[in-house]
């Protein structure tokens, strides 16, 4: 039972991160489409933002993993 709840937690974390990274990626695409000459700058900023969002999601996944394998 503990394992399945931990899996649910991991799934919820992934939903959050998916929405977040989707927003970042979509907006970056829009930005690049409007200003193709700024593509490299937008890409760097996009990767930083995506990494920060991913970090938050990975915290949750690590917690879920720990809940899955209580030592």
């Amino acid at each position: 039972m503990v394992g399945s709840i931990a899996a649910l937690g991991a799934g919820l974390a992934v939903i959050g991160a998916g929405i977040g990274i989707g927003q970042v990626g979509g907006k970056a695409m829009e930005g690049i489409a409007r200003q193709p000459e700024a593509a490299s700058k937008i890409q760097t900023a996009m990767i930083i933002a995506a990494a920060l969002i991913e970090g938050a999601a990975l915290f949750a996944i690590v917690v879920a993993l720990m809940g899955n394998n209580p030592s």
Binding site: T44, I48, L58, N69
Partner: protein
Amino acid sequence: MDFRHFFDSKKISFIAIFAVLTTFSVVQAADTPTVNSAAIDSHGAHGEGEFQPTDVIMEHISDAHDWHLWGHSSIPLPVILYTDKGFEFFLSSQFHHGEHDYRGKHYTYRLVDKKKIQVVNAAGQIDEEASKKIWDFSITKNVASMFLSVFLLLLIFTSVAKAYKKREGKAPKGLQSFLEPIILFVRDDIARPNIGHKYARFMPLLLTIFFFIWINNLMGLIPIFPGAANVTGNIAVTFVLAFIVLIVVNVNGNKYYWKHILLPDVPWWLYPIMIPVELVGVISRPFALMIRLFANITAGHIIILSLISLIFVFKSLAIAPVSLAFVLFMNVLELLVAALQAFIFTLLTALFIGMAVEEHH
């Protein structure tokens, strides 16, 4: 700074590097399933009969006292223990994969769960009190793998440095022309935009972090002997890397950085909230670096191993091609992730250093 004019030579597209990596990856990924499945098969065969994917996966991503080759053969690694009576050296093959106890100079030792070395008393029971007093400084699989990657890095970079000295003024050749665009990439796209004009001091650190993480990520993806250790997916390794970043950022922090933390531009009655938040920020940034690298690499390994485990969970040959195709896909993706995580770690390090050394604007 003799090399300055070499750095200014023509920049090769970073995509070319990815293309080369992807070519390697196909060769490498193609033999992944066979080797790993053989290992799993052997575990399943002499196990309890029932295949336990979690145990197999956890065993593959964790550290070990021997370096598994195939089937029942593995390379023994030295065990170094510091006990209250002195040091103890022996090879891990003395444990016979945890089946035998080893009688050392000071105590008798037992390998518990293939990971922990514990002291056994005369009655054959684990002595908890004495076990707490021993410190394990063994050359484990991760340590050995790290030695190997450090050796490889030294080999690569001393030869390239020598080539720069010898071929001064000429176009780069061989390994030089592979590494030069990457070094230029770290300098021009990571260090300079984020740190500013003081970037030169931090280039050695950034390049070391980038190449150390990258080579360890790639070595972790090799399924057979020289690789297969999950170095950057070990939280102790990423902790040390993040700790170095924490030290570097705070030692190099100028007065504006500290003023921003200790005396932020807010009404004085907000200080009790703002200062703790800023101090937490100082710790949480390297902490996020640690968790990000650890979780990304570990998650990648878990996904690949789970896909292989599917074959054994379903006990069907029909599932094998599907699983193999997914494993191939994941392995190629992991090659991208290996470079991307090295890049992100270096980029965020440069960003944090840039925040700390920034002059007031």
